[in-house]
Amino acid sequence: MADFVTSNLLNPPVLFFLLGALAVAVHSDLDLPAPIPRLLSLYLLLAIGFKGGAALAQNGNSQALAAFAVAMLLSALMPLYMFWALRRKLDRPNAAALAAAYGSVSAVTFVTASAFLEQVGWQQSGFMVAGLALMEWPAIITGVILARWGGSTANGTSSLSIGALLRESLFNGSVLVLLGSLVIGLLADPRNAATLKPFTEGIFYGVLSLFLLDMGLVAARRVSLLKKLGLALIGFALALPLLNAGLGLLSARLIGLSSGDALLFVVLCASASYIAAPAAMRQAVPEADPAIYVTLALGVTFPLNVVLGIPLYISAINLFW
């Protein structure tokens, strides 16, 4: 375990994340002004989508379908118990939105885990990128149902139909680039895919490092907001990922995933969405406050997973596989 923690902490992308956080702590004026972070995140989505598609094209994996089914199921169901737990502290819309964010997934956490896998030399089969795309939205649907169930939300915006909502979450820019790149990676013949390699693979860790530098800034800027949210919610934001990771671990073992794929699966379960889910929630559950669900996902759960979660989950897999 300690070994994994150390090698994760010495992974350049993670170090750049910490550098970003440090910059906020020492009140540096360091900033990656808009739209630089957007460019970096578009690049990352395109690159992992394309790589995943190309990998999927080469080795169609028999476990893939099982993994996909379980992934979607978990994404759809995990919000239920989180909602139940969160209702102790939050009203219905906020509990539902937070449950949706934590049921959904974070692409950057996934990517950081995948970079870590390569570093420690574990194999991954590539189809988990599709899992990432598939786990993005079931939680959102569940979250919206929970928000409205029994609720008489009177105002206009939230009368979004499930169809419109599905579209909203599937066609969110980030999801579309990820899914589209996956399909393009699948369709492209291997020779073409190779011409993209210096872009999608060569500079990947560098761009990831730069993006995590920005994420460090963003996450650390949220820390001052955390105080207002109170200890109970911060506790939730620390506990829920671990609980979800446990569920993911169990499922990955049952499906029989390889240890590399298992880590990615567990990280998907443990991570919380701060892009797709919030975008959908702002439209579908406008009564919920983004200052709660985005702040917790970005300011607590993301750092937790990137810094400590990944080595923790890999240690657990090392133990049980």
């Binding site: 105002n155 800027r221 701060y274 702002r282 200052a291 985005v294």
Partner: protein, 97 residues
């Protein structure tokens, strides 16, 4: 130069399309948008720095005839009340035409 009402709105970037729809329904045919402005209001700091754009404002500037201002303001007021954002009205003169 003729007198006109100058209307400026700062709101969540995601709400701008809806506000524009309401304005256009009231006959507004010209406006200017400054994307990605930062700010602070009742909903706290909005730096536009989160990767999903959940805290990003846009600034919208438009005009209308003095006699239409009440109706126009009433049409967007519900959005502002529900979703946040501010709206200022100023007297101005319109050059050209």
């Amino acid at each position: 130069m003729r007198p006109i009402k100058r209307v400026e709105i700062v709101a969540d970037s995601a709400d701008i399309p809806q506000i524009i729809r309401l304005l256009e329904r009231r006959g507004v045919s010209g406006y200017t948008i400054v994307r990605d402005v930062a700010g602070r209001g009742e909903r706290g700091m909005r730096l536009g720095d989160d990767p999903g754009g959940a805290f990003q404002n846009s600034y919208l500037l438009t005009t209308c005839e003095p006699e239409q201002i009440e109706a126009l303001v009433e049409s967007i007021r519900p959005v502002l009340q529900r979703r946040g954002g501010v709206c200022l009205v100023t007297d101005a003169w319109w050059v050209r035409h």
